[in-house]
Symmetry: C2
Subunit: 423 residues, 2 copies
């Protein structure tokens, strides 16, 4: 009984607000990625983000934002304004808000010493001393990647967490120190879910197929569609009755058994490819024209990708297509670089060059110039070569250059994955 | 006189707030890039963004955010919540806020017809009809990239602008339709500035050199430092006395004449490279190991890059380094893949393979695994080959995989640019 008293638990839906502090954000010099990261992590466990704000690095702006968001939220997550050269405005403002003062925190001091001992060169800064002063009433949160500790405050049954603004520090402290504490406070956060990704079937077709299944779901279990170009992720979430989840997930899989899908998938197809290739022990390569290296970049963004990615050729000039990839000059002349024939020869060429089991290729017109009536901007061929042969498909993404490159790259990963999944 | 009355002008500093609307943002499913884009464009003309908010797609949340931000700002920019399937919540909320109703707007209807005639397939949507209903009191703003018109409202001498949430639509309407109207309203926005980028000199060294120059600047003219890894952009801004700007800029250049710098530069070095290579008529190529295609991706993100970028090789596996790039197997064995020797041979190899004038290469340990005591994670060699010979430098970026790849790529572009700039 005493234990339960000490460990207050809330069973309501947790409502959160996120505040990011920083003049660089308001000047448009840096893109705020912390808000998106925190909102996604909160959504994953069933918490609701009701608002995000970015405010200036001043006492008045921070105080105003904290006061307003604390009224409507159970939890306020604040990032930024904690660097060693930030003049302690954020910490002083939080101390004022919680009617306390800054004092030397022994725990924070110990962590700072450990960190400085490990990486003296990287972390040397004359202002580090100020980092160990924290508001009296806060619980310090260990930051294993930087000198500024996080801080956990409670007031009137509500919680405020202050984290450093550097994304990789926030992304370290949040799962290690914040989420477990939130889960202990809010029992509603113990949401369970299962995911799968359906490839190359339009969302409307999947929705039609699953209409009856969705209607039959018991209270507390819901199906969400997260559509992306070329694939749709399905998330089956149990807010209550977690025991029903595995059975209903099996039923869901049966309903769409003739569609091409993968279980336990990430939102990133480069990670799904990693999963499949590691399991299959196969190697891949890519030959890129219009995607300009972005497919290789996506694949190699996954840690450990050197285990299955051999390499690629960015064949921007036609001479590189012929000399390096072995595309036949007469085919280039007859069909043009943006053609099914050339896409196939590029995929075959890089597979031969690297000895990969599978290869993917792109050739197209990313824009904004270079389009013709017959091949408008956004026309892109994607070739796939593997043990089952070589094919190429034509796509038309009528967007800006950036989006055409992005769409072509994602589609190439989807097509490659579909080929690897082929029985 | 009448004209002046009709065209109210404000000479104060313009304060703006930015509101982005969308459940996808609050769920962390999409990253809000509009706020950053708008804040950067506003900063460029001397306006101050005092706050950014992201709120849910509901009447209450939108109304609350508009009411609050309108109190503290001269201009409120709203993006999102205007898609054809969004149930018109945003438009209805704005109509309520401005005490008016939605009605069919003849101008918006004409624009929609023109757009649908040009791209019937892409824009076909049964809900398009709703797009021509706008609040009575707004000035519609033409959207040349999508079906939702922007809207311009004025009230009590303040301005609210509503734009669609799709980034490339916002990025089209803002410069075409919004910025000129804002400049007509706020004479303070006619800020002039000149930029240059200094390469490979630490910010503190530049600041020391320019201390006297900065102190000597007349009122209304200021120097800003925008540091990035490997380079610092300097912006000389004239809020008043624009005629002094060219003279002072020449003086600034003289002060740092022994540093390596470029004028009129973009924040993106891939665009600066484009500028230089087009002027010089030279061609480039790249050979990437640890950067995994990201350098090629950055270079080809620039429209028209096929004029100077021949292509590249992503040599992830050692076999690709030897077979395709001609790296000597005995050197690989003796010095390891992550070495100055291999970086040089990779740059030379791709230059020979493609016939490029200049080539850049990377080889290193992006992490999180693969580091050793001698070559810890983040150790990266960048090679540059050109008419003046071939060299390679060692760097250590002790970060996450993503950041190590990003830093290595930016540094490679900086080193390539420095080589091209060499007299």
């Amino acid at each position: 009984m005493r234990n339960q008293m000490a460990q207050k638990c809330y069973n309501t839906n947790m409502k959160a607000s996120i505040i990011t502090i920083g003049d660089e954000i308001l000047l448009g010099q840096i893109l705020d990625t912390n808000s998106c990261y925190l909102a996604r992590e909160l959504a994953r466990v069933g918490a609701e983000t009701i608002e995000m704000r970015s405010v200036a690095d001043t006492h008045a702006a921070i105080l105003h934002a904290v006061e307003e968001t604390f009224l409507s939220s159970d939890v306020v997550l604040v990032t930024g304004g904690l660097g060693p050269t930030k003049d302690d405005i954020t910490k002083q403002t939080l101390a004022d808000y919680f009617h306390t003062t800054l004092e030397r925190n022994a725990q924070a001091e110990e962590w700072l010493q450990l960190l400085l001992a490990a990486q003296p060169e990287r972390l040397k800064n004359p202002y580090n001393e100020s980092q160990v002063f924290l508001p009296r009433c806060c619980v310090p949160l260990r930051n294993r990647k930087g000198t500024a500790s996080g801080m956990w405050f409670e007031k009137d049954g509500k919680i405020l967490v202050s984290l450093p603004g550097v994304p990789f520090e926030t992304e370290t402290i949040f799962p290690q120190e914040v989420l477990p504490r939130l889960k202990a406070k809010f029992t509603s956060l113990n949401v369970r879910y299962k995911m799968l990704t359906v490839y190359q079937v339009p969302e409307s077709d999947i929705a039609q197929r699953l209409e009856k299944f969705e209607k039959s779901l018991p209270n507390g279990i819901s199906l969400a569609y997260l559509p992306s170009p070329g694939f749709v992720r399905l998330r089956l979430t149990a807010k209550t009755n977690p025991d029903d989840l595995p059975i209903l997930f099996e039923q869901l899989k049966k309903e769409i058994s003739d569609f091409s899908f993968l279980e336990n998938t990430s939102e990133k197809n480069e990670e799904n490819i990693a999963l499949r290739l590691r399991a299959a022990g196969k190697k891949i390569a890519c030959a890129e024209s219009c995607s300009g290296g972005n497919i290789a970049h996506l694949i190699t963004s996954v840690a450990g990708s050197s285990a299955y990615f051999l390499g690629g050729v960015v064949a921007y000039a036609n001479e590189v297509k012929t000399a390096v990839l072995g595309v036949r000059p007469e085919d280039l002349k007859q069909y043009g670089a943006v053609s099914q024939t050339v896409a196939c020869q590029m995929a075959q060429g890089v597979r031969r060059l690297t000895g990969a089991d599978y290869a993917v290729s792109t050739t197209g017109i990313a824009g904004p110039d270079g389009g013709t009536a017959e091949k408008p901007v956004g026309t892109i061929y994607i070739g796939v070569s593997g043990p089952n042969g070589t094919t190429a498909k034509k796509y038309w993404f009528a967007h800006t250059r950036e989006r055409n490159i992005g769409r072509a790259s994602v589609q190439a990963l989807v097509d490659l994955l579909a080929e690897i999944e082929k029985k």
